[in-house]
């Protein structure tokens, strides 16, 4: 046998290569079976990044369905409330490219909270049915009100209101939430600003 191989180097090479191929093939096949990934934990991680406003602007009924869609390969730039920061976080998690927000799905806005002008409310409960997080309190024929701390600012309640008594108000800044902003470094070409030295009124 060995003699034969020595005499026919071509055969030896062929055998060696086929042998190697067989061994590595077996190894790969085993690994494919042994280390199969179970389930899809990525959905949970994506869902944790999404802002949970449940606003439906992404075209999915709620944040979790969108998280599932992203895991299945959908674009990550469909969430206006998450904004650019959210897109970046998703891009990092999924190792995808950072893309600008798709404005077919709306624009990034400052955080808002719904406000019911209570003397105009007729108590129709339509907004209560629309609210995805049960943040509106009220009963039929009784004035409703928004529990501001629970409101996600999704503005789904605005449209159903028959008397247009719901406004979206930007979340007010308080002493507790106020803070210094990062110095602006975006316009370094045009004019150079050291700090956000602004002028108070």
């Amino acid at each position: 046998m060995i003699e034969l191989l020595v005499q026919h180097p071509l055969l030896a090479a062929l055998l060696a290569l086929v042998g190697l191929g067989a061994v590595f093939g077996a190894l790969l096949g085993y690994a494919a079976v042994r280390f199969r990934t179970e389930g899809n934990p990525i959905v949970e991680q994506i869902n944790a990044i999404l802002p949970q406003t449940q606003c439906g602007q992404c075209g999915h009924p709620g944040c979790r369905p969108y998280a599932e869609a992203i895991a299945a390969g959908e674009d990550i730039n469909k969430c206006p409330p998450g904004g650019q920061a959210g897109i970046e976080a998703l891009a990092q998690l999924l190792d995808r490219e950072v893309v600008p927000l798709d404005d077919e799905h709306g624009e990034e806005k400052v955080p808002q909270v719904a406000f019911i002008r209570e003397d105009e409310c007729i108590g129709c409960t339509k907004c209560i049915q629309a609210c995805p997080v049960d943040a509106i309190l009220g009963a039929a024929k009784h004035m409703h009100t928004v529990i501001a701390s629970e409101c996600t600012g999704c503005d789904l309640c605005v449209e159903p209101c028959p008397v247009d008594c719901i406004d979206m108000i930007p979340q007010a800044q308080t002493l507790q939430t106020w803070h210094w902003e990062l110095p602006d470094t975006s316009n370094r070409g045009a004019d150079i600003i050291a700090t956000d030295a602004g002028e108070a009124a």
Binding site: A48, G62, E150, I169, P183
Partner: protein, 672 residues
């Protein structure tokens, strides 16, 4: 002589302290109006105890501490409460905060104070209560309520009590002059604090650039066992953590408190205030404040009532507003700019700095970081400021946190030495705030998610129940049909079914009649349960009263409400019984019949109405709404409410106006 340790980093900025030390402490007098922010300390704001229009006396408690970490407020002089409303306060944001405004009457009449006493005679809880009642919050700048810091957990052993007379910031001399002029009071305060926390040693730490203060303190501390430790001048040795390392060689663990290494630290100003509070029963209503900078003619120290507008003090010191591009509360290293000179002095205002443009020039444009490392050399917390800067700038906040962003004390040493003029501290402040904001957002998102999922679950359940009911009904119907079919020898008999339906309806009506007793039972039950609840609430209230808990007021209103409910329930029961006795229950169908008739009548009326009338009605309704909205808008404009709200209202008015216009057009069309 104790061993003085050193801490990493630190800088030596120009001190500029002599300017304000030429004259002794001057009384700033009583301004016409005092503005007391309800939150002058770290923690929950105080709750006002007085009403607008009420007359208050000097030293009277006007707002009490709420919650564990909070401090009380007292009237700094006698006068009338003119407003409790948001006013601009000394805060870099320039946002208003709730304030209590007192118009002084000039009499400066004291309220009744507890009798003076000697602290040795007082027990620890009583001492603590006096300090708490006096509303003392850290006078060094942070404003942590003193009583909270001193209220040690039982069983803790304090090694060192440090009285901080370091005052390392340039320009500020409030503690210096206090130590020079009131050394004895500070030492008494220190003795009281020592009595309270029973430390193994008490040290007063002073930088060596205050020789007069050191001499005065040494003289006053003679024979008291209190040590005066003098150490080289270096910024920021007055920082609590740095001072502890200087004097004890120990480092406060990250995220921990000085107590974790057996140290309690208080400012000299706090010590003096404690002495006043305990010995004379006087609450904290005034403090020493330095007014300095090149834009005032006579830099000096004032004893000033809390709530005095800064402009009042500045005027006394000869302020030249034209020379002053920025007004700083605190020192040049850690102080913050105030948006308006009218903001009040608070418990933490140790200095008002009015520099000229030459003295503290506006920050020049930032250049690129050249990684020179001077910031790392200067950092007293041994951080890598430029790494933090890169992370903050790149919004890589997790990495910044991993590089101990939250150990930064914002002392400003890094920005001071930075050759490229990078506003490092601003980056750190912003980064910290963003991290906190992100944590809050994550929490809120999680909360929203849970609520959303709970709601979805509920809707599904309801849907399922509905489905189940429908299925059951269907099954019953089928069952019935089959039975009918069986009975009717395989032929579905509609007549039979109708009869059966009618019978079922009758049975149901009978059942309804049987349940006629229900309202009575229900009312009785309500009365019983309400009574039970009232009893429970009363017991709770009594318990709370005996314990002197905070929420008595809330409980009281609760009891009140429950009582009212009980009365109402009893009344309802009686009414019902009275109604029941004379007449037998009316046939059940009657009420429904009446309602149906009424509805039919309404509909007929509606149908009878001509389109013209309808349109007119509609217009009337809309006009009423418009008027209401306009009134609300005017009101909010007058009240100076926030822009956004006014805008929102304005837009809604506009919408209504449009609708009215449309309705008018419709009406016109109908009429023609």
């Amino acid at each position: 002589m104790r061993k003085i340790h050193d801490f990493h980093g630190g800088i030596h900025p120009v001190e500029n302290k002599h300017q304000s030390l030429h004259t002794p402490i001057r009384d700033a007098g009583i301004p016409a109006e005092l503005t007391l922010p309800l939150s002058q300390h770290i923690g929950a704001p105080a709750t006002p105890l007085v009403a607008v229009g009420e007359r208050v006396l000097k030293g009277q408690l006007v707002a009490e501490a709420t919650g564990l970490v909070s401090a009380a407020l007292h009237a700094p002089t006698s006068g009338t409460v003119t407003a409790i409303e948001p006013r601009p306060i000394a805060h870099p944001s320039g946002l208003p905060a709730p304030c209590l405004v007192i118009a002084s009457d000039g009499e400066d009449a004291w309220c009744e104070l507890p009798p003076p006493c000697s602290f040795e005679t007082l027990e620890r809880p009583e001492l603590l209560a006096r300090i708490r009642a006096a509303g003392i919050a850290g006078m060094g700048g942070a404003g942590f309520p003193a009583a909270v810091k001193l209220g040690l957990k039982p069983g803790t052993q304090v090694e060192t009590l440090i009285i901080n007379g370091t005052e390392c910031e340039p320009y500020i001399t409030a503690d210096d002059i206090l130590m020079r002029e009131r050394a004895a009071q500070i030492v008494r305060g220190a003795q009281i604090l020592a009595h309270l926390v029973a430390p193994a040693e008490t040290v007063i730490g002073i930088e060596d650039n205050k020789p007069e203060a050191i001499a005065a303190m040494c003289a006053a501390a003679e024979g008291t066992g209190i040590e005066i430790a003098v150490f080289p001048t270096k910024y920021p040795s007055g920082g609590e953590k740095q001072l502890i390392e200087l004097l004890t060689g120990k480092q406060v663990p990250s995220g921990g408190l000085p107590m974790d290494v057996g140290v309690v630290c208080q400012n000299v100003g706090t010590a003096a205030a404690v002495a006043d509070a305990v010995e004379h029963g006087r609450p904290l209503i005034s403090r020493i404040t330095t007014v300095t900078g090149a834009a005032v003619d006579e830099p000096q120290n004032f004893e000033v009532l809390l709530g005095t507008p800064m402009s009042h003090l500045l005027a006394l010191a000869g302020y030249r507003a034209a020379d002053n591009p920025r007004l700083v509360m605190g020192g040049p290293m850690m102080g913050f700019t105030v948006p308006d000179p009218g903001v009040p002095i608070v418990k933490t205002t140790n200095c008002i700095l009015a520099p000229s443009a030459q003295e503290l020039p506006a920050p020049p444009p930032a250049q690129a970081c050249i990684r020179c490392g001077l910031c790392a050399e200067a950092c007293p917390a041994s951080l890598l400021p430029q790494q933090l800067y890169w992370f903050a700038r790149g919004r890589e906040f997790e990495k910044a946190e991993a590089h101990n962003l939250f150990d930064c004390i914002e002392c400003g040493a890094c920005s001071y030495v930075c050759p490229s003029n990078i506003p490092l501290v601003q980056y750190y402040r912003a980064a910290k705030a963003e991290v906190l904001q992100m944590r809050r957002d994550a929490q809120k998102a999680e909360h929203s998610r849970q609520r959303f999922e709970a709601r979805q679950e509920r809707l599904e359940r309801e849907e399922a129940e509905k489905e189940a009911r429908r299925a059951a009904r269907k099954q019953a119907a089928e069952e019935k049909a089959r039975r009918a079919a069986d009975a009717g020898s395989g032929e579905a008999d509609p007549v039979q079914a109708a009869i059966e339906r009618a019978q079922a309806r009758k049975a149901a009506q009978a059942a309804g009649a049987a349940s006629e007793e229900n309202p009575l039972q229900k009312l009785e039950k309500t009365v019983v349960t309400t009574r039970e609840r009232l009893e429970k609430a009363e017991a709770k209230l009594a318990q709370a009263r005996s314990e002197g808990a905070d929420h008595i007021a809330a409980l009281e209103t609760g009891v009140e409400k429950t009582r009212a409910k009980l009365a109402a329930a009893e009344q309802a029961l009686q009414d019902y019984q009275a109604q029941q006795t004379p007449a037998e229950p009316a046939p059940a169908g009657d009420a429904a019949q009446a309602a149906i008739q009424k509805a039919m009548a309404a509909r007929a009326a509606q149908a009878n109405k001509s389109p013209l009338e309808k349109a007119r009605d509609n217009l009337e309704k809309l006009e009423a709404r418009l008027a209401k909205s306009e009134a609300r808008l005017a009101e909010s404009r007058a009240a100076g409410e926030e822009e956004k709200i006014v805008e929102a209202l304005a837009s809604s008015v506009e919408r209504l106006q449009e609708k009215v216009a449309a309705a008018r057009a419709e009406l016109a069309a109908e009429e023609s």
